[in-house]
């Protein structure tokens, strides 16, 4: 999977692309925790994530908890139906702030 990180309007914007599975979890987790450590609100855009498994979800949860501890927001945007289904199964769809699109996420704040 591809991961790119940029800053936009005061947010750290992470764009994920591909399948967030066990193979890519170590990279994803490292990158998420780095983004969270920058001391800014984080948006993870998942418009192009076609699949996420429990290890990917676990990385998101860890990053979310770390951001909350530091007092910054952590949001997801553009979830595919498949990815949303997995978050729903884990009952995490109400824990994460989820935006329909990246624009909505950045504009809202």
């Amino acid at each position: 999977m591809n991961i790119s990180v940029r800053e936009d309007r005061g947010f750290v914007v992470m764009t994920l692309e591909g399948e967030a599975d066990l193979q890519h979890t170590p990279t994803l987790r490292k990158s998420l925790l780095e983004s969270v450590s920058k001391g800014r609100p984080v948006v993870v855009d998942m418009s192009n994530v076609s699949y996420i498994d429990s290890s990917g979800v676990a990385s998101l949860v860890e990053a979310y908890q770390s951001a909350r501890k530091k007092g910054f927001s952590f949001a997801l945007s553009g979830l595919s139906p498949a990815a949303l289904r997995v978050l729903q199964l884990a009952r995490l769809d109400r824990v994460f702030t989820i935006h329909a699109s990246l624009d909505a996420a950045i504009g809202d704040e």
């Binding site: 399948e19 599975d21 498994d53 429990s54 139906p81 289904r85 199964l89």
Partner: protein, 566 residues
């Protein structure tokens, strides 16, 4: 105690104690007896000694000490000085052997050994003489055995007798336990012969509840490649092991002959002739055997002396279907008749007399009418559940079952159903990959393609992909303890309306009780994968892995979406 030999017994107390202990604890009685006999002969200054045991009407020499080995010698039970000792249960001290009328000189004359004096004590326990120990020729003094010798020998003989009895009882116990284990094994094998019920809409289901461990009843359900489904249900006369063996034989005859015999009457005749050919010691089998044809509507069957099956159509009177033919295994060349029925939305029930002869509170039998009434009272239930409900009703509190309960139900298929797709598991994909994360994507692609083959909905497809992915992750991370080149097998098949994936690893068996999903209010990584598997699937269980494998997980998902189910 003899006062003229005040030290006789006391001198040998050590010997008596150590021999008794050895006899009581020995695992190899024959060796202990021989060793003991040598020490007795030595302690009592005997030139020779022998130990005889009663075996049926004979006395058999089991151990010897001295110059002549007569081990294995058999003499009639009441003959000789040994015989006199055993039958009278009295120690015999013979001072002048050559003039004793019971003395057999034959051994002496063959061997050149000269017997002069004999001391012979019975091995008595619980007033039964198991044998005797005989000492020959005192080597010291005047060459004669004295009373204290007799007392020592009696004590040692009694200890040997007790040891022998213990050993025999232990052996009997071992034998009894072996028989018990064999019976349990037979029951297990027998239960494994009964086919597992297939998921709906498979049109035939069965149920077997043995009354004792080993049953005399059986049934079988056999989908054939031409789309027909063979079935049989039988009751072997008598109980126990030989009934069970006859049952296994009849069941395997049905399996092998049903494949190429279309006519149930001819099938029954062939089973009958095969059973008659090998004498079954007066045992016979009542049997119903037949086929549901590929249309899923027409049943043909033959009945050999069995309870009449019941055809129950909704809203109609139950139809009993008796047949005049005798059971199989009695008369060679018996002619049987085939019966043909159209199900017309009904169900054909076949059952053993364990059901009809189950009794109510006043001892009255359930009877065929009672069975029909119970069936008609049932609501809409899956076929297999109707049978267990029926059996439960027969065994309800206040009722009693006195025999095996064995039931079979043949239902029709919806006209559009393809019976072959339902009967025969259809292989969709087989994969063998190393347990590494970089193969997960490949597996997900294959699983998704397999899901498309059976037109799984998008959501169910995603769920199946997720569940199999998570199961593989568990294997990689927990069963194998990390990525490894060791293999994982993934088999995806269609079984009726279920999609079944079997995932097999070669890691050490996992402790299934330790696999737990995490609690959902606990927002932490870990356990989530197992929770996904349990949530999205219709079934997940560990199966007995094939030889050489470590674990096999069976995951199943209903193919049809909710709402389209009947």
């Amino acid at each position: 105690m003899d006062s003229s030999h005040p030290h006789g017994l006391a001198e040998h107390l050590d010997l008596i104690a150590s021999m008794s202990l050895r006899f009581a604890t020995t695992k190899d009685l024959d060796t202990s007896l021989k060793h003991g006999l040598e020490r007795i002969a030595d302690a009592l200054d005997a030139e020779a000694a022998s130990l005889f045991l009663v075996e049926k009407a004979e006395l058999v020499c089991h151990a010897c000490a001295g110059p002549v080995d007569i081990t294995g010698l058999r003499i009639p039970l009441n003959s000789g000085i040994v015989g006199r000792t055993v039958s009278g249960r009295m120690t015999q001290s013979v001072l002048d052997v050559q003039n004793d009328p019971d003395f057999h000189a034959s051994v002496d004359s063959k061997t050149g050994f000269v017997t002069r004096s004999i001391l012979c004590a019975p091995m008595v326990v619980q007033s039964e003489a198991l044998g005797a120990i005989e000492l020959i020729n005192k080597k010291t003094g005047d060459g004669l055995f004295v009373l204290s010798d007799a007392r020592v020998l009696e004590a040692l003989s009694a200890a040997a007798a007790l040891a022998l009895l213990n050993a025999r009882m232990a052996q009997a116990l071992v034998e009894q336990e072996r028989l018990q284990r064999e019976m349990e094994l037979a029951a297990q094998i027998q239960q494994s012969l009964l086919p597992e019920n297939r998921p709906a809409p498979f049109p035939i289901a069965g149920l077997g509840r043995p009354f004792r461990e080993v049953a005399g009843d059986f049934y079988d359900i056999l989908p054939l490649t031409d789309g027909r489904i063979g079935f049989c249900l039988g009751d072997v006369s008598g109980k126990g092991m030989d009934a069970a063996l006859l049952m296994a034989k009849t069941a395997s005859l049905f399996r092998s002959l049903a494949k190429d015999e279309r006519d149930p009457a001819l099938l029954m005749a062939r089973i009958n002739d095969e059973l008659c050919e090998t004498a079954s010691q007066g045992k016979f089998v009542t049997l119903v055997a037949g086929f549901l044809d590929a249309s899923g509507q027409r049943v043909v069957f033959a009945n050999a002396g069995h309870e009449p099956p019941l055809l129950i159509r909704p809203g109609q009177e139950p139809i009993s279907l008796p047949a005049p033919a005798p059971p199989v295994g009695i008369l060679p060349a018996t002619v049987f008749e085939s019966e043909e029925v159209m199900l017309d939305g009904g169900v054909l029930y076949v059952f053993t007399d364990g059901l009809t002869e189950s009794t109510g509170g006043n001892g009255e039998m359930l009877g065929a009418e009672g069975v029909a009434a119970l069936i008609c009272r049932q609501g809409e239930l899956p076929l297999a559940d109707r049978l267990s409900d029926l059996a439960d009703s027969a065994m309800a509190p206040g009722r009693a079952v006195h025999d095996d309960l064995t039931l079979l139900a043949v239902a029709g298929l919806p006209p559009s159903a393809d019976i072959r797709a339902i009967s025969v598991p259809q292989c969709l994909a087989h994969l063998n990959v190393p347990a590494t994360p970089d193969r997960l994507k490949l597996v997900r692609r294959v699983v998704a393609e397999a899901a498309d083959l059976v037109r799984l909905s998008e959501e169910k497809k995603g769920d199946l992909v997720l569940a199999i992915d998570e199961a593989l992750q568990n294997i990689i991370r927990h069963a194998y303890g990390g990525p490894t080149a060791k293999p994982v097998d993934i088999d995806i098949v269609r079984e009726g309306d279920m999609l079944v994936a079997r995932i097999t690893d070669y890691a050490p068996p996992v402790d299934q009780s330790r696999i737990r999903p995490r609690a959902l209010d606990d927002i932490r990584p870990g356990g989530l994968g197992t929770y996904f598997i349990q949530t999205v699937l219709d079934g997940h269980e560990f199966e007995e892995p094939p030889p050489g494998a470590g674990n096999r997980l069976k995951l199943s998902l209903r193919i049809a979406s909710e709402g389209t189910q009947p």
